[in-house]
């Protein structure tokens, strides 16, 4: 490219006066980085345009200046004072980067909105998760409590069964119930009575087995229990305590038990060692 011809084409004037197209502008700017004479030509025209404009300046009305500076003050947190250099100086220190702080504010505002949305989403998700976890937690707690009670019961039962003080009374079936089998574990020191049901046939729903302690011709009610179909289930039942017993007996009674045993329904009986 002949830069002299380029300069002579009027592009410099066209560019400076804002009449060049976008393509012409970028070409001109590109060439300016390579041809110092083009830059010099541009500056020369700019300066003559500027000095001409300055020579032909027309002072705007005073109130325009006041309006402009008031408008600018409205764009800033503190007034931009043109008549008080000291105040203006301190104001300028504080408001030096007004545009920057505006951009910063926008960024902060945008970030705050995004953060808020994210927090709401997280909060909702967290709440759901919390509710799920709370449900899960109470389920687990129930299970643990149940297991705890079960373990405690088993521990007590095991303690009774393995207690050397316990007397094991083998309850054998009577003639009318030869298949009935149960063991009574009786801790005479603590009076605790446990019944291990080995085989007591299931009864009609209005009937229950009842355990008795036979003491000096009398009978003491030790509680009722249900039969079980599964032989060898070894269900361990905690019965009522008794301090004394020469024998234990099991009868079939109406549901809930009777105050006195129905002896003709005697299913099993076992004597304690104390009577022997």
């Amino acid at each position: 490219m002949n830069i002299k011809d380029y300069i002579a084409s009027g592009i410099v004037e066209s560019y400076v006066m804002g009449l060049a197209t976008e393509a012409e502008r970028s070409e001109f700017e590109q060439l300016c980085t390579r041809y110092p004479e083009l830059v010099a030509e541009r500056r020369q025209f700019e300066e003559s345009l500027e000095s001409h404009a300055t020579r032909h300046a027309e002072a705007p009305p005073d109130e325009v200046r006041a309006k402009i500076f008031a408008a600018l003050a409205g764009m800033k947190p503190e007034a931009l004072s043109s008549d008080s250099p000291n105040r203006a100086a301190s104001a300028s220190m504080e408001n030096r980067n007004f545009r920057g702080s505006l951009a910063w504010l926008r960024t902060v505002a945008a970030a705050a909105v995004i953060l808020l949305v994210v927090m709401v989403v997280l909060y909702i998700r967290q709440s759901r998760q919390n509710a799920d976890l709370a449900n899960e937690n109470s389920r687990l707690k129930e299970t643990v409590d149940t297991n705890q009670r079960l373990i405690e019961k088993i521990r007590q039962e095991t303690a009774v069964v393995s207690n050397p003080n316990s007397i094991v009374v083998n309850m054998t079936g009577t003639k009318i119930a030869p298949q009935s089998r149960a063991n009574v574990y009786w801790d005479s020191t603590s009076s605790s009575v446990y019944l291990v049901v080995k085989n007591m046939p299931r009864l009609p729903s209005d009937r229950q087995y009842q355990l008795w302690a036979l003491i000096d011709k009398g009978q003491k009610d030790l509680g009722v229990f249900d039969g079980t179909d599964s032989a060898g289930a070894n269900v361990i039942l905690k019965m009522n305590d008794t301090k004394r017993a020469q024998a234990f007996a099991i009868t079939i009674e109406k549901k809930g038990g009777s105050p006195h045993p129905t002896l003709d329904s005697l299913q099993s009986v076992g004597k304690t060692e104390l009577t022997q």
Binding site: G18, L19, L49, A53
Partner: protein
Amino acid sequence: MAMPSTYTEQELVRALKDRNDQAFSFLYDHYAGALYSIIRQIVSDNAGLANDVLQEVFINVWRKIGSYDQTKGRLFTWMLNIARNAAIDMLRSKGYQNAQKNQEFPDTVYKGASGQTVQPNVDHIGLRKVLEKLKPEHRVLVDLAYFKGYTHEEIAQITSIPLGTVKTRIRNALIQLREHLQ
């Protein structure tokens, strides 16, 4: 801090980019008149409109100073173009509401090519005065392009002059205009 009575252009630009209030006062006091003049030449005799445009220009200068690139031209050139664009925009938005009506273009504007008055009722000040020294066919095109803000294509349509001729004539007109500035 003492208020500097004058700045080099470099110092002024740096101070403006730092949002220095004194620098902005300095800028207004030194350039408002020149910019006001060009605005007046564009919006013609409407002083109220020119005041509004000048205010808009200085607010825009304040807002956009961060994007001003010294390698692409002088500060005044940059502000002059802001002023010119703002004035043309204002003229157009007001023009649509008021005088524009159905009239696309006053005949006198492009019939100026055959020697008639280019633009009646305009103060012949500043660049417009320089424009008077140009040949009428040049004067019309510069008026449409620079003072009215029409693109070369629009001017070609309005004046029924081929686009290439419009472009060449405007370039030549600007070269002549430059000679008359000195």
